[in-house]
């Protein structure tokens, strides 16, 4: 594992321990609903299901098709805010 992934793993661990990861997930969920991302993704999923056929589609099909689109469509403002919150949480915790 290179240094980057080591750091990510360490941050992830810390956030889970603090219980902060769950809270950040909730914040992210609310933001993504608010900016319409969730609705966009829902529509994309419906498209994939229609394309593959309801009887044959698997979760994997959906994951493969919409993950790249989903990642691309997250607004920069949301990314920025999450990043700020993560920084703030980690900074807060390191003083304890």
């Amino acid at each position: 594992m290179n240094k980057d992934s080591q750091m990510r793993a360490a941050i992830n661990q810390k956030l889970i321990e603090m219980g902060e990861r769950e809270r950040l997930k909730e914040l992210l969920r609310a933001k993504l609903v608010e900016c319409g991302w969730k609705d966009q993704m829902k529509a994309q999923c419906k498209d994939v299901i229609r394309e593959k056929g309801l009887e044959h589609v698997t979760v994997e099909d959906l994951v493969v098709e919409i993950t790249p689109k989903g990642r691309a469509l997250v607004p920069d403002s949301v990314k920025k805010e999450l990043l700020q919150r993560i920084r703030a949480s980690l900074a807060q915790h390191s003083t304890l």
Binding site: M1, S5, R8, N12, Q13, I16, E22, T58, E60, R85
Partner: protein
Amino acid sequence: LISKRKPQLLPAGCSHVNAYKVDNWRPNLRVIYQCFVWSGSAETRRRKAKSCICHMCGAHLNRLHSCLYCVFFGCFTKKHIHEHAKNKRHNLAIDLLYGGIYCFVCQDYIYDKDMEQIAKEEQRKAWKLQGVGEKYSTWEPTKRELDLLRHNPKRRKMTTNCTIGLRGLINLGNTCFMNCIVQALTHTPLLRDFFLSDRHKCEMQSNSCLVCEMSQLFQEFYSGHRSPHIPFRLLHLVWTHARHLAGYEQQDAHEFLIAALDVLHRHCKGDTTNDNGKKANNPNHCNCIIDQIFTGGLQSDVTCQVCHGVSTTIDPFWDISLDLPGSSTPFWPLSPGGDGGTVNGESHLSGATTLTDCLRRFTRPEHLGSSAKIKCGGCHSYQESTKQLTMKKLPIVACFHLKRFEHSAKLRRKITTYVSFPLELDMTPFMASRWASTNYLPPGLYVLVRYALFAVVNHQGTLESGHYTSFIRQHKDQWFKCDDAIITKASIKDVLDSEGYLLFYHKQFLEYE
């Protein structure tokens, strides 16, 4: 390539789980959920943080899955869990992010009813431990509801242009004050949902239950009839229960709103139950739909200027009445075009007063003066003090009443000062405690305390002869002007440029208690 020969998807999941569902499988599965999927306690979180990494590559991302048959974590994206499944013939794994069960034989996530049940329970438990409480879960029909749906196959499709829910109201003689309020109430989403799902169980013996009449009104509005409705029964019931509003003269729409909410609240007795399902006898601790939607808590802090002791009281409110500049009570001058104007995106046309200005004034500390000394519990004597009002509990629907009608001893007049109000309102600056540490918000959860405008009641004319109309919001971004029997499409600009007398805002994100 690989032919996806999928066995028939039964409601009970796939047949391959049957090999797993033996012996002590339930508590085992619960432990997996508690430790590795939804870790509620600090201890389980620590364990999860340390041990949830792929046994083959050490990654914590890549859709980590846990084998259900042994202690093995493998990432899905790199197919490490697939290798394990093949080698060990352990064909079930659980997604540590979402808790879904994957069957390697079916090559898809499967939904076994028993396992789903356990998953739901464990998730709720973890949420409770984290202080998150209940969260939104999609509606699943009960058996009775399924029967009802099957026996009543007719469906109404709500397209973006359909006008169901819109209906004019005949003016029965200066009853426009009532018509406006009815329009606002029938377009209050939560109230509409309550009545359209038949939640009112009437306990009144006579035919004079206003809640039943309200229910009827919703039926009329959502019937699809386009002819205006004649609300004579509603008017009669209002005259019966709110004598002060009887008669054919023009009344104040705000007074009517409060009277209507009061009667509805009183008549909701049959619907109020406390946590144990028993009937709540205390009229002040009601949990009826009116209280749930409209009741907020206003905190009043009186600070003694000598000992700085604070005396706090909290009173329920259904609306906030705001003084306007130009009235005989002095309006605290706020710098026009200053930072206040851009807080809620209101237009600050050359120093026009904004709703935010009015709210700032409402919640500012006020020095009570030497002629209004309060008895201080700390000093045991009368002292000068400051008083401040803030919102302790925000209602789901916030109604702001701009005090345009002045009825002082010397004059009776209407204040027509333009007050600009926003489409979206952030209530945080006016709350008693800034962010999370009140009783009503789970600690640490970032709640968006935002409100959206959905109805505006306007008054045209003078105190002596005037007319009420309203704007209501339909389908998220469509607005309509309701002028008694006449409904016309309106633009957002029409709404925001109007004078504004009663402003109705709806909370955008709802939390469960």
